[in-house]
Amino acid sequence: MTDSQQIEQRIKRIIADKTKLDEADLHAGLNLEESGLDSFARIELILVIEEEFDIELSDSESANVATIADIVTLIAAKVGT
């Protein structure tokens, strides 16, 4: 499993935990709005991700993620995989 795949798996687990959705229903192209996360819940999600990966995301970086794949790309760039 590549680093990006591992990141995607961890992100899916975090989102499933937050939305109470089944992790198997989440796919890389899923839009965060479609997973039931409103703007407030998205900020909370960003915080959990920051703590999980020990990174800091600026407001503009946080705003640029629409899908799970976007988050994976951003984190992969931040942690240098």
Binding site: T19, K20, L21, D22, D25, N31, E33, E34, S35, G36, D38, S39, F40, R42, I43, E44, I46, L47, E50, E56, S58, D59, S60, S62, A63, N64, A66
Partner: protein, 596 residues
Amino acid sequence: MQSSTLLEVMAQHVATPDDDKALHCWNGASKSYDPVSYATLSRRAFAFGARLVSQPGGADQRVVMIACHTPYATLLAFYGAISVGAIPMIFPMPLSLGSHEALTERIKHWGFAFAQPALLVLEQDLTERFHEEIPAQIDVLRVNADPTGDWDSLSESANGHRPLPADVAFYQTTSSSTGDHKAVAISHGNIIANVVGIRRAQKMSVQERMATWLPLFHDMGLVGTVLFSFGNNYPLLIMTPTQFVKRPALWLKGMDQYRCTIATAPNFGFDYCTRLVSDKDVATLDLNCVKHLFIGAEPIRVSTVQGFVDKFTPCGISAQTIRPAYGLAESTIITTMTDPESVSNFICLEADSIGINEPLKILDRMTFDDPKMLAYDAAKAIAVCSAGTQIEGMTVEIVDEQGQLIERQNVAGEIAISGTSVALGYVFDGEAGRADPIDRFPEGRLRTGDMGAIVDGELYILERIKNIVIRNGENFLVSALEEQLAELLSISHEHIAVFESNIHDPGSDIVVLVERHAPLDDDAVNNLLVAMPKEAFPINKILLSKAREIPRTTSGKKRHFYCRKLYQKDGINFQQQIDVSPQRIMQAMNAVAAAD
């Protein structure tokens, strides 16, 4: 001498520079505040105004749309536009709106709403992908977000602009979290009247300091904190809403570190701190410096105040620190405030007695430091905070549904306001390019859409007549959503009402009542759930009923607050109830995908 316009305030800052009077912007990378004095900020804003003037099409009376993440860049563009007679309008960013598309849609709407295309100010770090979505006819100006960087500066307006107090200063978008396009025109005179009125009502000194995380596209954030501090020469610590949501203790630590005396938030901000600030942080915080914690919301929840005071009493917060206030964008921001020299109070009402032109059944009266309030039973009575009395220059009255004055005290009706803080009018949202883009408010009383009563000379906010939903401190105008749902259900929006089931409970269900609709089969429900607008706030239930279930006024207008009353008493006769949880939507998406 008292300034009469925001431009005179800027000139005053430049003429009397003082490094202590500054905007302190939280820097997430360095974990510290970057200060920029009001004199320096004003000089840089004058230079930014010069850039606006040099744009093709100039700046005079031109609308400047500001879409920036950082408070510093936002305010540089805001003051810069004001300095040259352009009209700034601050937009919420994608993180608040839910998507880049929502911001783009807003830019496209307002960009072409005026006689001359509006100019757009963006921060340097916004993605190229986003920039490509902006129509080519809209000029874009980039601004550097770093307050410590190299900057041009000027000591006065680049084009010699000298506004009058009655001239438009800026456009305030309202119900900013939905796709609805509504804005209020605020004059220079409105701003000065309001920020001076607040200071005098609270008997504040010249040495106050403030801390905020409120969004600048919101009236409470822009006028209630930023312009209030700038206009009264009070230092201001500022962070973004995202920074606050991630780490709410930062707001309180900033107050402690900089010995701040004033802060403002809606219910959400206080509840959030009560819930998430750790006991370890509480043990180290010293908030004895804080004299005014303004809470503005409709309604202000007694449980919110109770919880916050209980948690932060060890830090020096007392019941007297909490200062309920009432305001709205149409009154620039503040209309009434509670007395700073006494403990705020609330009344307990029989819930059924709340209705227009109906006398209130008051069961009890208490102050926030009354031990009796622990015995208050939310199931039996509604507790309503006093919002105090009107600030200087304003008049508050109660009217019935026909707009006739209700002179008796203790009788509920719609709150109507008049005076120096009442805005010029709504920005016209119709035929693009109209010569005067403002639908001016008529002389006399302006109806607010809020229900209240005057009890013992003080205003109490009881209910919401206007059809908005407030969640996490954000206002959502439901009319746009009603129209979208109407289209999906092939029915007139007149037969759909969206309402909060209990405005005193932040977690209560958001309900859609659809009348004149037969029950839907499983496939139709799945298709509806998949097609529902996702950028909207979370709907919890859809109720399908027969005709004439939505309560209406004699002229046929929907009465959303009576829907709420009926719902609370299980008084809505519906034929089908549809659950709208995220799990149910996901199930619907899978079912529709499988069918395809």
